[in-house]
């Protein structure tokens, strides 16, 4: 029974997707099918919480390799599955209201349900194979959803970019699990991790495998250098950004490292790479967030930066802090996105320069945004404070430099989010004042629930998460660091607010991060350009080959011409020969008539004997003759038909 419930968790949304595609295309409330799918998943999950379960079957046996697929429920997977189903349910409900006026709703909600199913399969999978398939599945869903407004150029290009860049990382993941398959001869993750912890695999191999898996995480979680797709992905509908491009799919990279943490713990060199890549990404992205004027792009760069913080925690060996921040970030970032969607819908824009003074017109929205923004800025007592506290404790163990890096990130987050909040909701010089009001009850309701999560998740989990996840104890944190973090948060918030209040929504720290963005985009596009340049060269090669073949063709025709002349010549000679033979024959006839018939009979007998001896030899080659004739008949008939036509 429990096994059945476990299996049903990812199956419900999949059934919802199929139902929408096959039967419910014409239903007006097609969105509720998707809502029902994620609600059923959540209902199936709730009675299983706290249990350990596994179902597994052999998918394929190829040679000595056993490829298994299966689902497992352990502490980590139920933690993730709960997060995914809860946010999926809320965002699907929000989307029903948000997408009410759109065409193509069946396509939207089918893709959304397919995404939820893939994401749940990803976090519940017990085998590399299913994990990879689900991993690619969420990539496909992301492509379909970013490209939902398929007529728009920015949407379709963003869809391509997202799929291509994440797939580049996916291939690292593919190589990684293929390597594990070659070592273990099975795709079962637990078998692999057992072998890692018993030291059965050499250290160098572990480091390479860990780096390959990290490459997959870099692509999915938009870390440098595969970052550019995430801000571009904001061309998709806002519920998609809230669910996929902030709370769940992009966190899959962090989840992968959590799931494989024993591997990373055994490969310190790889952890070091994780630390430096994510540190660089986090600062880079936070700086870029300070110059954007599109609210969704601010949130996108913020997401990259926050994911970087999670990897930073992993990089110093703190999976618990990373998981904590993953949950906290999922709650407050999806809240920020749904408020961004409400603003976009009701005020007609999400450009900071075209908004302002909305606090009075959309008071509830402003409240929700404010709570989530403070959570993002790490301000107590909201979620981000608690989880960043946990990360800071881990970083402080590595050294003051690492801890200061996080303090800087908290300061920057305060700046960019207060800049956005003040520009939208408060007053600033030369501010336009668009008309707007709070959204309807369904949308507002989901926003309020998400806002509550954003406020409370950190407080709920603080001190309890050690008991939920098997990653050991969390270190304590000195009051000095905690004070520094709160001060940085306050300073950032104050600085960002003051800048907008006096100067309007100009780049908060000057324009230099824009250059960074330009370099990143140029660097991302460069391999694509190189491929096109190579392709153009190859096209020349192809045409050269083509000309060569044409020459060969001409040569064949020339040869055919020569043989034609030879044929004619042979023909004449044959005729001459025939004439001579005839002459000879008549001469012979005359001789015969004169009574040499005996001699001729003897000749005939001789020929018969020789011929008899030659016969087997001839029949041996007979087949080759017929074969040759067959070939030439084919050739000549082709040429004949071609010439005739």
């Amino acid at each position: 029974m429990n096994e059945f419930l476990l299996l049903s968790i990812p199956v419900w949304p999949l059934l919802a997707a199929l139902t929408i595609l096959l039967w419910a295309r014409k239903w007006s409330g097609v969105g509720y099918v998707a809502v029902a799918g994620s609600a059923l998943s959540l209902l199936g999950l709730l009675p299983l919480l706290g249990q350990q379960l596994q179902i597994q079957s052999v998918w394929m046996q190829t040679g000595p390799f056993t490829l298994t697929v299966g689902l497992q429920l352990d502490a980590l997977s139920q933690f993730m599955a709960l997060l995914v189903t809860a946010i999926s349910l809320l965002v699907s409900l929000y989307a029903v209201a948000y997408m009410a006026e759109e065409e193509g709703q069946p396509r939207f909600f089918a893709s959304l349900s397919f995404f939820i199913a893939s994401m749940l399969a990803l976090v519940l999978s017990d085998s590399f194979l299913l994990l990879f398939a689900a991993w690619e599945g969420v990539g496909l869903a992301s492509f379909l959803l970013i490209g939902f407004w398929y007529r728009q150029d920015d949407a379709r290009h963003a869809a391509l970019e997202a799929f291509l860049l994440t797939r580049l990382g996916d291939l690292g993941l593919l190589l990684g699990w293929l390597g594990a398959l070659l070592l273990m001869r099975t795709t079962d993750i637990a078998t692999f991790l057992d072998a890692v912890s018993t030291g059965a695999i050499a250290g160098g191999v572990l480091t390479i495998l860990a780096l390959l898996f990290f490459a997959g995480a870099v692509g999915k979680s938009a870390q440098l250098p595969l970052t550019a797709w995430l801000p571009a992905a904001m061309a998709g509908p806002t519920p998609v950004s809230a669910l996929i491009h902030s709370a769940t799919m992009v966190a899959a990279g962090v989840y992968l490292l959590l799931r494989l943490f024993p591997l990373f713990a055994a490969a310190p060199a790889a952890l070091n790479v994780v630390f430096w890549v994510s540190g660089l990404t986090a600062v880079f992205a936070a700086l870029l967030a300070t110059v954007q004027t599109d609210l969704k792009r601010i949130l996108a760069w913020s997401t990259v930066s926050q994911l970087g913080e999670m990897f930073l925690a992993l990089g110093v060996g703190g999976p618990l802090a990373a998981a904590f921040h993953l949950a906290a970030h999922a709650s407050f970032k999806s809240t920020l996105f749904v408020t961004a969607g409400a603003i976009d819908h009701k005020a007609g824009s999400r450009d900071l320069r075209k908004l302002g003074g909305l606090a009075r017109r959309m008071p509830l929205t402003a409240l929700v945004f404010g709570v989530a923004a403070l959570a993002l800025a790490g301000f107590p007592p909201f979620s981000g404070f608690w989880s960043e506290d946990a990360i800071l404790a881990k970083l402080a163990l590595r050294g003051p430099g690492a801890a200061l890096l996080l303090i800087l990130l908290i300061f920057l987050a305060g700046i960019y989010i207060s800049r956005a909040g003040v520009a939208i909701f408060a007053r600033w010089p030369d501010m336009p004042a668009p008309e707007a009001k709070d959204p309807g009850p369904l949308m507002m309701g989901t926003m309020l629930v998400l806002g509550l999560l954003a406020a409370g998740v950190g407080w709920l989990l603080a001190g309890r998460i050690e008991g939920l996840l098997p990653f050991g104890e969390e270190p304590g944190i000195s009051l000095i660091w905690r004070g520094a973090a709160v001060t940085a948060s306050l300073a950032g918030l104050a600085f960002g607010s003051w800048r907008v209040h006096t100067r309007g929504p100009v780049p908060a720290l000057g324009a230099f991060p824009q250059h960074l963005e330009r370099w990143l985009l140029a660097g991302t596009a460069a391999p694509g350009r190189a491929a096109f340049a190579m392709a153009a060269v190859l096209e020349q090669v192809e045409q050269a080959l083509d000309r060569l073949t044409q020459r060969m063709g001409q040569a064949v025709f020339a040869a055919a011409g020569v043989s034609e002349r030879m044929e004619v010549g042979l023909d004449q000679e044959t005729q001459a020969l025939a004439r001579e033979t005839m002459a000879l024959a008549s001469a012979t006839d005359r001789v015969e008539l004169r009574g040499f018939s005996d001699i001729m009979d003897n000749f005939a007998r001789l020929f018969n004997q020789v011929g008899g001896r030659l016969q087997p030899f001839q029949s041996g080659k007979l087949y080759l003759y017929t074969l040759g004739i067959f070939i030439w008949v084919a050739a000549i008939s082709v040429l004949g038909i071609l010439a005739w036509r």
Partner: protein, 492 residues
């Protein structure tokens, strides 16, 4: 049963010839009926095949030219059986697709049936001379199909196809003769030659024979640099011709590499395995890049075939080089499944492009846009086939490719990384097609398009379903292939 399968198309073809020219519908339906019967027989053969049994099953041996040791000897192993099933499926779907075509119906139907016979025969032949004979029977109709029913530059394409394949066939024939002469007593029997390994102690001759086989099969595969006939032949061939050409005829080369070259010359292939590996990697990347440069959809799909068949060659190269029996099986299972998968997906894509061309008269990517809004069913199927071709899990291409990549990884991580570079390029180019043709705004001068009709759906849906079934439940087909690779290549 197998012999009935082989000669049934010929019988149907003769019936077609006897039918009056004035009744094209009857001719079309007769041909379709014959092809469908071969599909049913293929299913019977499949059900009767025991994966746990002997390597060769359904065997029939009849003396043919005993004086030279050639016999009519047919049988199937798991590899040839799956290819026969693929051939029967594609031939049936092609017959469905061409139902309304009215140009020289009789000759058209007869040539396709003749080709089907040749394909069945060569996949089943256990005698090199018989193999060669069927190889030619499968090829010759194709010249005519391109030359008579093709598009504007059909003459050029047919002659080019003719020259390339002729050179290939001659090289193959010479290699066969060398093997024949190396046997005492002389025989063309494939199992006998494999068992005896006549050229094991003549490295020079063995090398030359390998070269002959490689050229012969490499032209058909095709591998770079013997591939140049392919884009022209595909582009100029009529849709149904392209489907058979890409779907099955390329597998003549692939099958030859896996089922003939590898077992006939295991040591020599290993000796030159690195050459195969390099050619495979070049084919993979070259095919992908060349496809990227194309604005003509059909030409683009044709070049992606070079890329996809490069994975087959990669599997063969790894199988030749590795000393681990398990890895060899992994590589060859992947290569064989790639043949099937490519037949389904690329066959489907050629149908797709052909439907677009016959509706609009153009194949230029730039002439289309926003098809998703106008012809959603067409767009959905097109996207499915495209995602299958770029190796998305859940469709057959992934199951094939990850096995080849895994085997390659065990040999050399760098080779695997280079092969994956090809995957990234094909991902990019296929996505480019999707966002250009299906998404975006329709250009102002875009020709009118209509969605798939029932006949076109009948031709396409089985391919998509087969690819999905293999992708989701490969356990249904893999044991048959696995049996062949286990029994054929046990030796180190």
């Amino acid at each position: 049963m197998l012999t009935i399968e082989i000669f049934l198309p010929l019988l149907t073809g003769l019936i077609v010839l006897a039918l009056p020219r004035s009744r094209p519908t009857a001719i079309r339906w007769t041909a379709l009926g014959g092809a469908f019967l071969t599909l049913l027989i293929a299913i019977v053969l499949w059900i009767g095949f025991d994966p746990g049994g002997a390597a060769l099953q359904w065997r029939l041996t009849v003396p043919w030219i005993p004086s030279i040791g050639a016999s009519y000897d047919v049988a199937v192993n798991g590899i040839s059986l799956s290819l026969i099933a693929l051939t029967a499926l594609l031939a049936t779907l092609v017959m469905v697709y061409v139902l309304p075509e009215r140009k020289q119906v009789k000759e058209h139907a007869f040539l396709f049936l003749l080709m089907e016979m040749g394909l069945f025969g060569l996949f089943a032949a256990q005698d090199l001379l018989l193999f060669y004979l069927f190889f030619e029977i499968a090829l010759v109709p194709m010249y005519f199909i391109i030359g008579i029913w093709g598009h504007e530059r059909r003459l050029y394409a047919a002659i080019k196809f003719f020259i390339y394949t002729r050179v290939g066939s001659l090289a193959m024939l010479l290699a066969f003769l060398a093997l024949y002469l190396g046997m005492a007593p002389h025989t063309f029997s494939l199992p006998a030659i494999i068992a005896a390994q006549p050229l094991a102690d003549q490295p020079l001759t063995a090398g030359l024979v390998l070269l002959g086989l490689l050229v012969g099969f490499g032209v058909k595969l095709p591998m770079v640099p013997l591939h140049n006939w392919l884009p022209d032949a595909h582009v100029e061939a009529p849709t149904e011709g392209s489907v058979m050409l890409a779907g099955v005829q390329l597998k003549m080369g692939a099958y030859g590499l896996v089922a003939l070259m590898l077992p006939l010359l295991p040591q020599t292939t290993r000796k030159y395995g690195w050459v195969l590996l390099i050619i495979a990697l070049i084919s993979i990347i070259y095919g992908a890049l060349a496809a990227l440069a194309q604005g003509d959809l059909k030409r683009m799909v044709a070049y992606t075939s070079v890329n996809h068949m490069g994975y087959v060659l990669l599997g063969v190269a790894v199988a030749a080089l590795t000393t681990d029996v398990g890895i060899r099986q992994l590589a060859l299972n992947g290569a064989t499944l790639q043949m099937i998968s490519h037949g389904l997906l690329t066959g489907g894509l050629f149908f797709m492009v052909g439907i677009l061309q016959s509706a609009t008269g153009t194949r230029q990517m730039a002439r289309f846009g926003g098809l998703l809004g106008r012809i959603p069913v067409y767009s959905g199927l097109f996207a499915l086939l495209v995602f299958g071709s770029l190796g998305l899990p859940g469709l057959s291409g992934f199951v094939a490719e990850f096995q080849v990549f895994g085997a390659t990884l065990s040999l050399s991580p760098w080779a695997a990384a280079l092969a994956l570079l090809g995957v990234i390029i094909t991902t990019g180019l296929f996505l480019r097609v999707l966002i250009t043709v299906l998404m975006g705004e329709a250009p102002a001068d875009m020709p009118a398009v209509i969605d798939l009709n029932r006949r076109q759906l009948t031709a396409l849906v089985p391919l998509a379903v087969a690819s999905l079934v293999i992708g989701i439940a490969p356990g249904l087909i893999l044991p048959v292939i696995d049996a062949a690779t286990r029994l054929l290549f046990q030796g180190g």
